[in-house]
Amino acid sequence: MKKISIILIIMVGFLISCTKNFEDFNTDKKHATVVPAQFLFANAQKALADMYSSTSVNINNWKLFAQYWTETTYTDESNYDVLNRNIGNTLFRIFYRDILVDLKEAKRITEEEVVDGQEATIAKNNRLLIIDLVEVYTYQQLVDIFGDVPYTEALDITNISPAYDDASTIYKDLLTRAKTAADALSTGAGSFGGDDLMMGGDVAMWKKFANTLIVRMAITIAAKEPALAKGYIEGAYAAGFAYGEACSFQYLTGANSNPLYQDLIQSGRHDFIPANTIVDMMNTLEDPRRAAYFDINGDTYRGGIYGESNPFAQYSHINDRIQAQDYASVMLDYTELAFYLAEAAERGFSVGGSAATWYENGIRSSMEYWGVAAADIDTYMARADVAYATAAGNWKQKIGTQAWLAFYVRGLEGWTSYRRLDFPVLNLPPAPDESAEGAVPRRHTYPVNEQTLNGENYSAAASKIGGDKLSTKIFWDE
């Protein structure tokens, strides 16, 4: 019996002594639990640039929606089928989960940083403001794509049913935030240094970025909020990008190559070609940028018929420069600013030059960016169908057409410019998805996931904006 008791005691003792490593067992030793803020910020910048640059049909179809490009064999997205691939889900996922939440986390960690000295304090403040600017930039894209989106209640895991905010209200708040950053950024100290993948930590450039962004946002709502837009634009334009300046994301090679390279070259697929919408127009204008935008097919530039099936070999292709591994994606630039200011001038805002001047600046800076020779630019500007005085149509048509041509590759800007100015007139694909109701989409539908995961707020938002449809106009869309 003694034996039995001893055995039982050994058993109990064995177990009690054996749990001291348990917490260590359950610790993941291959992943970081603490990271510096700039690496989260850089990650968000890259995620933003990747989505913006991509032409994957699962992520970014704006280059199709803007009719810069069209598809060869599989034309669903050119025909506005956004449901088949649940693209809305992907967009929300990238915007909120891959970009915005990392920015928020970067901000949280930065705020907790203890810094010594005045310069370090300013630099810390600069970092917070720059994070905020990237956040503002990102939210503007979200609103421009969807309309009302979650904003005040977003990015909080303790609230899994975030309400949607009014798009116009978001815009106004974004303008305030951009203004705050534009004013408060101090060139007296640095920021992120080389870990800032867009501006290399150049605070002066971020200041210009902020002012340019203010102009962009303000002009977008100018039709609906002229007074507000006037104030912001007149106060900011002079401090925006100077001629030739831009914010761009400089890609590297290999795994850090431009997603366009990955989609167009690395994939080995031949899914995209320039659309006839842009090629035909540039042919008519004998636009010298054609050589930089496309390649020549035989003896001419031939664009694939938008939305139709187009055998790859029979049409012009996307220019090699754009398909290079390290092609830098322009996020915001002077060209854009110039076209916005041309519009501002037409709207009667005081922007230091006439619409014609800014229009010409826009075209010239675009051409220079694409490497067009000065003489060819002059020839182009002198054409009756290009020169501001003589080009066809009202100012919306003139500016709309040239801005759209200049925004090439930057699908979202091209599509938004079209939606705001309704020019140039885009083609209608042959078999548009029923959901498009026979027209070029005015917005993107919300993620299907939101219907199931955040149903009440989804329904409220959908009914508020006038239906979760491709045809529903964003609040700024006239």
Binding site: K3, I4, S5, I7, L8, M11, F14, F22, E23, D24, F25, T27, D28, K30, A32, T33, V35, Q38, L40, A42, N43, K46, D76, L83, N84, R85, N86, N89, F92, Y96, R97, L100, V101, D102, D156, I160, S161, P162, G194, L197, L252, G254, A255, N256, Q262, Q266, S267, E308, S309, P311, F312, A313, A431, E434, S435, V448, E450, Q451, T452, L453
Partner: protein
Amino acid sequence: MMLVMVFAFLSGSVFAQTKTISGKVTSSQDGLGIPGVTIQIKGTTIGAITDIDGNYSINVSPSHKTLVFSYVSMKTTEVAIGTQTKIDVVLDPDVVQIDEVVVTALGISREKKSLGYATQEVEGDALNTVKRDNLVNALSGRAAGVQVRGTNNMGGSANIVIRGVKSLTQNNQALFVVDGVPVNNDNTNNAGQISGRSGFDYGNAASDINPDDIESMNILKGAAATALYGSRAANGVIIITTKKGKKQMGGKRAYGVTISSSINTGFLDKSTFPKYQKSYGAGYGTYYYSDTTHPTLGYHPGFEFYYDVDGDGQLDYTVPTYEDASYGEKFDASLMLYQWDAYDPASPNYMKKTPWVAAENGPEYFFQNPMTLNNSVEVAGGSEKSTFRLAYTNFDQKGLMPNSSLKRNNFLFNGSYDVSKDITVTASANYTKTNGLGRNSTGYSDNIVSSFRQWMQVNVDYKMQEELYNKTHRNITWNPNSPFDLAPAYWDNPFWVRNENYETDMRNRIIGFVMVDWRITDHFSLMGRASVDTYDELQEERKAVGSGSGEFGVQRPDVTSGYSRFQKNFSEANYDLMLNYKNQFTEDLSLTAFVGTNIRRTMVDQVYASTNGGLIVPDLYSLSNSSSPLLNPEELYSIIGVNGYFASASLGFMNTFFLDATFRRDISSTLPVDERAYNYPSISGSWIFSNMFESDWLQLGKLRAGYAQVGNGAPWASLKDNYTQNTTFGTTALFSLPSTKNNEKLVPERTHSLEAGLELITFNKRLGADLSVYKTNTVNQILPVTVSTVTGRSAMYVNAGEIQNKGVELQLFGAPVATKDFRWDVILNWSKNVNEVVSLEGDIKNLQIASLQGGVTINARVGEPYGTIQGTDYIYTNGQKTVGANGYYLRSSTSDKILGNINPDWNAGLSNKFSYKNWAASFLVDWQQGGSVFSLDLYYGMATGLYEETVYTNDLGNPVRNLISEGGGLILEGVFEDGTPNTKRVEGADYRVFGYSRNPNAAFVYDASYVKLREVVLSYSLPSSLVSKVNWIQGATFSVVGSNLWIMYKKLPHADPEASQSSGNVQGWQSGVMPSTRNVGFSINLQF
């Protein structure tokens, strides 16, 4: 402490002088000795086993009154000891067993009739007669409530779920325990493979268990049966007992040798492979050529008219070779034009125009007949004090695909030795080495079979593809971009892929244990066991320079060449200590009890790395041969520790009433410190009511019932948050918040289970029935609930949700005919499980398990069975499919419509065995009724015009693919939105009409029912009269076997409804699944 007191009180052991009893056990059938009969002193743990001639000896003391002789398929017989020293016993065969002894949780042998829960035995013969690459597949249809789904992948994984899915997102696979050692059954397939994107199916690790070593298998289905396994008991347990050597008495021959050998070959089951249309070739229709006529050949807009191939200054018609579809120009042997094989100088058709016809050798040509060789040799035997068995099995399979093989070498040694009268040491070591070569790729992308089923040109001759590859060893594909750009548009030459882009894998595994049994007193015994299951695994994948672009390696970027390696080390150690107590207090009252501890440590250490951006030097497969710096390798290092203690007591009264209670407490390292200890109780009882009355017709009537709780711990490291690291950008590290929010307050999942059963044996033991009903509720599910990504996360771990399983299982078994020479045995298994997701977290009504290509999802939806297939549906008007004004079907605007469910309505298996003298024949029919499957193969393949259904004569008597203007086209069955019948004709010449583009997902969801003739065996054994005359041979059996011979019934066209990507929770979706094969073979078994 209570238990200690009880033991102390009960253990009044008496030590007195002993005597030895010996004797021989023979069979009443042939009078020969029976080896392996268990002799036990009633009410004690003391026992012995007969040797190969049926002799035994056992030491007894005066307090011992009765010996119990038991043997599988024989009636258990009790003999009073009295003053005898020699007891010979004759055992009668038991047609249907009543006194069967089965192995239950933690390796405890119990009389089946005393159990208060359902178990089901499967004999080793049923598992190893047909040689398979995965043991799990052999269980299909063999046991009620056990659902098995194979994949058809060579060496592929097999899904095994007992009594329904219980965990929303965690493992639902049954636990395998071999001789008391839990055997890891992980599936190392990556997330991309499981969700059908791309990759290889490396199988589930339980396939290392060698069927030839299995003596028997006992399936513990419900929680009451498995509760002693605590946190790993929730999914049912499969207890495997391996063959052992037998003790020998009196200096007789000490060993026997068995050699068995089998060969199997398979033939493509054409009902599981596409039937292609043979009328239209490459392309997507009539848009390639827009001029009106060709100078000589006329107008053929389905061809390209763009290249001057021969350089004569004239444009030539060419096939749009870059299109992987067959919706193009109608075949016409009089049309001569340049096709894919005209562009490479190595081709016999170089620069030759060839007639436009369907290929003579379609994709069927690609497959070869699989061949399996299985050879094993074993030596088993023993002495008076020891037993041993040494076995070696070599399994060698050539797969259905060219250049594929699976080889397995298995060594097993087990043995026992009586160190003293009271102490026995048992040890076992099992070494398995598995080598795979050229497993078939799976899923949507970069999978040859998804090309065959979805993306192909029926004008491509695969024999020509083979010839050109063999001749050049270059990737001359049917799918070049153009006559002047011969790089693959999408698809490589499949023979290139098989021979150049092959994977290899290897797993070295050791499973072993050392066990000491110490009989401390008559009533107490102690068992200590240390066991280990450890393996290292290496999976290498290759993509040769010259291949088309495709997803590959870490993060799956598109590359044109590469090399990747996945290395995994796994080990699990278990240390068990168990104190047993057994006593027969009076004639009527018996108690069996034990207390024990279990310490488990499970370690996984793995790394996955690949080249980046391609290979520099062709054919050099090493990580350093990478074009660009490597992407961050994926590393995992995890340890899970569980300390458990347990106790069990079984009371028997009058051999009629039995009561079992068990208790286990686990302390788990994956749970929060304060709440890491959890209890798992169970109670069950049975009543043999047939003992209450004498009846001629009822030999056994038993009622049983039980209640238990078991659990499932938290996943490793799911408490605290970490950051995800992305590929470094230049010199800047990139970190991101992970997509899933962890939770520091997790508790284990709990399954509450109730079951009851009725067992009957009647008609003079010629018919038996076993009926079970059960209800299990699994609550506190640990699930990463999908949340709106607006929160910044995709999911967060919570303890929430409940799944309920209710079910009925019925086994009928009997021997309708049993004469001296002829015997017919039947076993029928039928089971129905009704699963319901009762609740999820808060207001969440839907949990997405997987999002799959084609826009369908697999979900857990409240109020529905687990595994709803959701996607877009038709719009119905008055119950009719509705078309829009354009004549095409309207589709729901959202993808959350329930289109089907992965769970079958019921499963059944019917096995029959006939024996006549030395002949035996058996067959097994396996039936699944209901369940759904989404076919991505048809979703795309109907659009690319591959299948015979896309070519037919329409209502106007013309080919449907003619233009409407030429009398073609079709009117889809349905109504307009106003309810009037559809009258709008749509183009049959437009590829969109039949496939994904214009139809909802619902059009491609099929009933997954099947009835299969799973197995047929015919065997002949040499008569014992003959064998006994020759000295050198003990027995010989010859068998002809067949498996998967005939799918007698199915509703899914062109594929095997059972086929899937992988084992796991993602089921009910097919893309590029392998066809099945009908297998026949011959085997021979010789005993010396």
